[in-house]
Symmetry: C2
Subunit: 308 residues, 2 copies
């Protein structure tokens, strides 16, 4: 029997990670690699649930670790710290990603396709086009959803002309009105009411390290920042617990208004001065309003990293 | 003025590194990026000299280091240890490579195209095809030379069907007889007579590290192994000097018969037992004959690395 190739995105999966895994499985099968199988490394969030429900398709199977020598394709990430347990001993045959590269290593040559686009699905879309493979209505909606999610309806500064062009074509194939569908999808994803504070700070959290300092940046999207700030006291409590438990030097929690493209951040830890230096602004009541800031990858992380 | 993008391969440049740098510059210019400039990080070897003389073109300019923030495209390598001084602080906008990935890191998303092919030029060839850009006679010969060099006229086990197909097409465009031209080129490259022993062990040497052990694998190509072995005593002397100077645990010097696809290796250092374990064979007089072994990347390194 042919060896299975597992395809997965990062832990704390978002819509790009899940949709790109599913689409990559389908693209592989259309290319004759029937042994490809999309899996996921965590729970499906509300936004992705909206997409899967819309299409009436199942989420990929959940896995927690992989065996030594398992053939894998990583999508939407390359950092081993954000990947499946056991990734160090996997046989990585491919990576399709749109992030900077770090903490990644293989002992064999491989297929690695990184592009500085706003979304992994945009790279996949181009792959369909270059190989002249037809995109089904379902695949188009999956890729469109990923692009809408990662670029916040093309409003995020991570958006490139490649994403714009891809979404334009995908909209036609999927037969949707991108703006209407996208707004519904984003709203579904920002319904934060039934999350506990502890869950809130873990919805989309990534850990980083610089010069011996460990720091974490978590982000939630909303259509009403003040609604989340009502819970500030309780949020700070769980952030402090996390700082103490994991010896973090800084914990930044960003509440991003996806409709107006701004963020309010809460920053705690011994290195909050780094945040003040990074954005040339004082924290007040542990908070700071950042106009025009919506991207962890392109705005929050590089500025904080540079000053850490 | 537009910022220059420097394009270069690894230190100790070989034919793929030089030819792919030149071709990538030309491909970029055909795509409208006039600010691209191929450069090199070391002396041109005899084989590459044969190619450049054949075409009557100049070698790229030699550089030794780069400034902070310099925009660069790395070809035929990704390991910072094999790259230009200052690479850590460069702005890497692209990588085109066919090696495993390690010791590579960026703080921004980028274009990274790795393929497990035998040669970087094969990736470039496919790029021309996908973008439907015409390949000139000169570009075809540069890419063909790189493929012939890296795959030893398609005999190396690193050769893939992609390299075979590319060389087939490039032969037609370049208007050469691949076998005749390739043999002359490879012979020009294996003329070792006027190298000192110290030069011999540095023609194509790469350093590695595993579990705290530093080791080096150097390789020379020849059409007559015994001719090189006449100098064994002097070669061992300079290898030992190198081991002592750089605290190496193992130094493997491979003399590869490119016509019959075998290698004789000389191994010195405290960890020569690793080599014996790796190839299940005893060293005699510090030497070992390895039938069918021609590739450092695919045969020597993985076996030694696994047992280190």
């Amino acid at each position: 029997m042919e060896e299975t190739i597992l395809i997965f995105g990062h832990k704390n999966p978002d819509t790009d990670t899940i949709c790109s895994s599913i689409v990559k499985e389908r693209l592989n099968k259309k290319n004759g690699y029937d042994n490809s199988k999309a899996v996921r490394l965590g729970n499906i969030n509300k936004e992705t649930k909206y997409v899967l429900n819309y299409l009436g398709i199942e989420a990929p199977e959940l896995i927690e670790k992989i065996e030594e020598g398992q053939k894998v394709i990583m999508v939407d990430h390359n950092d081993f710290g954000q990947s499946v347990d056991g990734i160090e001993n996997a046989k990585i045959i491919g990576v399709i990603d749109h992030h900077c590269i770090g903490n990644f290593k293989t002992s064999d040559p491989l297929y690695y396709t990184a592009r500085p686009y706003g979304c992994t699905a945009t790279i996949l879309f181009k792959d369909f086009k270059e190989k002249e493979i037809e995109i089904s209505k379902e695949e188009a909606l999956l890729m469109a959803s990923a692009i809408i999610s990662d670029t916040l309806l093309l409003k995020s500064p991570t958006t490139t002309k490649h994403d714009v062009k891809a979404l334009e074509e995908l909209e036609k194939i999927a037969g949707i009105n991108t703006k209407e569908y996208g707004l519904e999808m984003l709203k579904a994803g920002t319904d934060l009411d039934d999350f506990t504070e502890e869950e809130l700070i873990n919805i989309d959290a990534k850990k980083f390290e610089k010069n011996g300092n460990e720091f974490k940046i978590a982000q939630v999207n909303t259509v009403d920042i003040s609604d989340v700030l009502k819970r500030q006291e309780k949020i700070e409590k769980v952030m402090t617990d996390e700082i103490n438990k994991n010896g973090l030097n800084l914990f930044v929690f960003a509440i991003t208004d996806i409709l107006n493209s701004n963020s309010e951040i809460i920053a705690l830890g011994s290195k909050t001065n780094v945040v003040e230096k990074a954005f040339v602004k004082k924290l007040e009541n542990n908070r700071m309003f950042l106009e025009g800031v919506v991207s962890r990858k392109k705005q929050l992380l590089p500025n904080i990293d540079k000053n850490m």
